[in-house]
């Protein structure tokens, strides 16, 4: 679905953000990109929808170089939800906000109406249809930004730091929502340093360090590798740390979430879950 090969990118101010990144993301995959502040995570995903074009190497979406397609065309396929919703929202009502891209893509008015209603409903925003996005809380504005992207039904959804500024309940709702999107066949890419969020979702994890990929693999392999996570400025999940402290008793060292942890412990203690 998305493939980058030996990607290099330097910002006009001379900051070398990507120094040779190669990565392939298949159709329907769920990938979390993690790493230190400034590791190049956001720069990388901005290449997935052509917002940035590589200085060297190439970025392919469905086998076509992003240099040969317009950002507008790519956006139909790859939707991008920014870290800060205020970089994305500008209309006077939530309804207009969600309609905006649909209108630009040339959908018929009846389709637009249907899609907007669907997206509002999906993200629990129906009561704010006529409200200005700027009257909403930060968490609600983030949901409007997500709704406006989902409305045109892109095949790939990229979310940049979706959990920042969200309280636990909102994060939990978002997690279930993302998992559901992925289960319905959407390719999902999340940029985050929220380790516990990733541990509960269990996607494929790509760790970045100074513009390069440091490691990639299943969440339970990557997040439990102490030397890797330390290099990427991440702290292993609390459950992982707990189980690593019990390794001498023969407990597995690749446990990342509460669900797996309790299953293993109850099994050991021969309690029927």
């Amino acid at each position: 679905m998305i493939e980058v090969k030996d990607l290099h990118f330097t910002y006009p101010n001379g900051v070398e953000a990507l120094r040779g990144v190669s990565l392939a993301i298949s159709d329907g995959e769920f990938v979390a990109i993690m790493g230190q502040n400034g590791a190049g995570k956001t720069t990388l995903v901005k290449h997935f929808n052509g917002l940035l074009k590589p200085n060297k190497g190439e970025a392919l979406v469905d086998g076509v170089s992003t240099k040969r397609v317009s950002v507008a065309q790519l956006a139909r396929k790859v939707g991008f939800v920014f870290q800060n919703p205020d970089h994305q929202l500008f209309c006077e009502t939530v309804e207009e906000e969600i309609s905006f891209a649909l209108r630009n893509f040339g959908f018929k008015e009846t389709t637009i109406k249907r899609r907007v209603t669907w997206a509002l409903n999906l993200l629990g925003l129906t009561q704010y249809r006529k409200t200005s996005p700027f009257m909403l809380s930060g968490g609600e504005r983030k949901r409007v930004a997500l709704a406006s992207v989902l409305a045109w039904n892109p095949e790939v959804v990229i979310l940049d730091e979706p959990t920042i500024g969200q309280d636990y309940q909102q994060k939990e709702t978002l997690r279930q929502f993302i998992v559901q999107l992925n289960a319905q066949g959407k390719t999902v890419v999340v940029v985050t340093h929220d380790v516990e969020f990733v541990a509960e979702c269990g996607p494929r994890v790509v760790l970045m360090l100074q513009g390069r990929i440091l490691a990639e693999g299943k969440a339970e392999e990557v997040l439990t590798n102490l030397s890797l996570v330390a290099q990427a400025s991440i702290v292993p999940p609390q459950i992982t740390q707990t189980f690593l402290g019990l390794a001498d008793l023969g407990l597995p060292t690749n446990v990342i979430n509460v669900h797996d942890a309790s299953r293993i412990l109850l099994n050991l203690l021969e309690v029927t879950p």
């Binding site: 500024g165 340093h193 459950i239 690593l244 050991l268």
Partner: protein, 284 residues
Amino acid sequence: MAIIEAKGLAYAYPGRTNHSIKDLSITIERGEFVILTGPSGCGKTTLCRCFNGLIPHFYDGKLEGDLTVAGLNVPEHSISELASRVGLVFQNPENQLFALSVEKDVAFGLENLGMPREEIRKRVDWALKMTGIEDLRDRAPHELSGGQQQRVAIACVLAMQPDVMVLDEPTSFLDPLGAQRIFEVINELNKKLGITVILVEHRLDLASKYADHVIIMDKGEIILDGEPRKIFDSEEARLIGVGVPKVTRLYQFLKERGVLLGRVPVASEEASHLLREVLVRDRG
């Protein structure tokens, strides 16, 4: 001895009819490490703004009830009087830093107090040392990483030698290791210098082990107030949707299925220890 005492506190922002905090009473003892948490919009930030007088002096509106901080009655004392007792650190350090060098930023508050030059120098050196950023002294704050910037912001507040430090989600923009280092710095200031810490935080997995007092707010009111383990394990905390530490969740999961650990854990080391007891007993 109480350093913060609120009785029947209520406040609505000007032009709003609904109160952001209502009939709120709390006591915070000198030297405590307090975690203040609750859903978005519950009134945490509003309450923090009362502690250093931003409410009612800067935001206007009427602050009802009684509030005493470090012996000062908040409505009767100016922000500048309160500022030397109560330091506030924000979510985004960029909103707080503006000078051309770290040293100048840290010295700024002291210069405003009209402190002698020699005393300023001493205080700046000390604050940089306590926060572990002596080597950044001559750097420009805007060129630093987010974690370094947040340590500068803490040093600025620390240089004033406040009795209370209020930190409003100071790590939300930081990577986990950066966040952990900030919590360690805050903990040192609390344990070594006895500064009372009030930390507003959603991510409880990293910070809980340092706390000796947890306050949970919802809809402008205090719902739970007391010892962290008791509160994290409570039914109310679950219902409000507080993101209790994952090891506390694990404890609850096991308890529901009849496996009881010695006490409620909040950190991984003690969870390992408590699980070890149960596993070894089971094998023995």
